[in-house]
């Protein structure tokens, strides 16, 4: 048993997502935790703590304000929030949550993005937050647009926000994408569809009126469940 529950994650090679064919490892992964069984107490690599290492500023989680001063980005302002927890449902406090995304027109600030849609001078499309003691994070941002990509003819990415989470230990590391409910492109997207069918729902945020702010922004709730901690390694004397 490793920290990643492979019934929830996509396989490395997914032929419908063309880039994966030449980039995913083809040989089986070696189970490092089982190699440590010989000397469990020496697994500092897997036990070293990665939460409460970084600090962010309050402006960092507001993508509607962290661009150049003097203007606001175009688009539908939204709030994205949720709870980071381990796979036993316990809050992960002090986790670093980083996001990046396209603007309302479906264009990234990134120089490699050549989609013929306007950049927004008031939007960087990047933010970060640290989870509070109950595991919660919250971002203010703009709802990202869909955009075309080169995977196949007339391929379009569903609206999404990229997430990177640095949790309690190395094994909990997660990079993922959050999608929006009701997006018709989800059924057609090879990256989303690469996830085992029963697990896909865990990538779709829920509309949340309670998280919304009256006269200001709609709320979307997105909980994040990380891989399990390696307690068995910690508990065994080396």
């Amino acid at each position: 048993m490793t920290s990643r529950d492979w019934s929830q994650h996509p396989p490395y090679i997914c032929p419908d997502y063309k880039s994966s064919v030449l980039r995913g490892p083809t040989r089986p992964l070696l189970n490092l935790a089982s190699l440590y069984q010989q000397q469990p107490g020496s697994a500092g690599e897997l036990l070293g703590k990665l939460t409460d290492v970084y600090q962010t500023r309050s402006i960092d989680c507001d993508l509607t304000k962290n661009g150049p001063p003097g203007g606001e980005p175009i688009g539908e302002r939204i709030i994205v929030g949720g709870r980071v927890m381990d796979d036993r449902g316990r809050a992960v406090a002090g986790a670093l949550v980083e996001i990046w995304q396209a603007n309302a027109s479906g264009r990234y600030l990134h120089r490699a993005d050549q989609h013929h849609a306007p950049l927004d001078p008031n939007f960087i499309g990047a933010g970060r937050a640290i989870t509070d003691r109950d595991g919660y994070y919250r971002f203010y941002t703009i709802k990202p647009g869909s955009y075309p990509w080169a995977n196949h003819v007339n391929a379009w990415r569903p609206q999404h926000i990229h997430f990177s989470v640095l949790g309690a230990t190395l094994a909990t590391r997660l990079v993922t994408q959050m999608y929006f409910p009701g997006d018709p492109l989800l059924d057609l997207d090879p990256i989303f569809q690469a996830v085992p069918a029963a697990a896909r729902i865990n990538l779709i945020a829920q509309f949340d009126l309670g998280l919304s702010q009256a006269d200001f922004a709609l709320g979307y709730h997105f909980d994040i469940v990380l891989g399990g901690p390696r307690e068995t390694l910690a508990d065994t004397p080396g």
Binding site: R4, Q8, H9, P10, Y12, Y17, S19, S20, L22, R23, G24, P25, R27, L29, L30, L32, A33, L35, Q38, G44, E45, L46, L47, G48, V53, T56, P68, M85, R88, G89, L96, E98, Y108, L109, H110, R111, A112, D113, I124, A126, H162, S164, L170, A171, R173, L174, V175, T176, Q177, I191, F192, A194, V195, P196, A199, N202, D223, I224, V225, L226
Partner: protein, 189 residues
């Protein structure tokens, strides 16, 4: 009382091609700062790590991100005033190398050689891949390392970084091959 349902892990998705504007912004001159850069500082011997990430056709990726995680010079994680975590993209230099300035880690025990954990993220990689960097000038310690000993013989060389004296000082070259005859050994942890 019914027990609480166990929540399912959130599935991984590829980092995609555009992470640099958020995760490695300062390196690539985007107008956002970087909270994690490509430097690890602390007492010990300063070394550089660099390499490229090759796909199944031997093409170097310009949109990979590498993270490293290591112990301090005494082989300790979790030390105050020491953070052994860093990250670097491959697209910020014309030669498509990732590069780190760090300190050489100590060994974490008598049966362990110094090593650095390496995590690969990139467009086309559905979930990140873990590997390890061992040092070529630690042959004796590597042979004693109880993890290294358990690795398949024909994959061991894929984890050895070659030290060279460069302009910046001692640089260990660690190329990562995602596929092919030289495919790097990746771990599940």
């Amino acid at each position: 009382m019914p027990s609480k349902p166990i929540p399912s892990q959130t599935p991984s998705q590829t980092i995609g091609p555009f992470f640099a504007q958020g995760l490695t912004a300062a390196q690539s001159d985007y107008p956002f700062d970087s909270i994690i850069d490509n430097t690890i500082s602390g007492p010990g011997q300063v070394v550089h790590i660099q390499g490229r990430v090759f796909d199944g056709e031997g093409k170097a990726a310009d949109d990979a991100m590498i993270e490293i995680w290591q112990a301090d010079c005494n082989g300790q994680y979790d030390q105050e005033n020491f953070c052994g975590y860093a990250r670097c993209g491959t697209g910020y230099r014309d030669d498509l190398h990732f590069s780190f300035k760090t300190i050489k880690p100590g060994n974490c025990g008598v049966d362990q050689a110094p090593y650095i954990t390496v995590i690969v993220f990139m467009r086309g990689l559905m979930t990140h891949a873990f590997t390890r960097l061992y040092f070529d000038d630690e042959a004796e310690a590597n042979a004693r390392d109880f993890i290294f000993q358990q690795l398949p013989e024909d994959r061991k060389t894929s984890l050895i970084a070659m030290g060279i004296e460069g302009e910046e000082g001692l640089t260990y070259v660690f190329d990562i091959h995602m596929q092919g005859a030289d495919e790097t050994l990746f771990f599940d942890i």
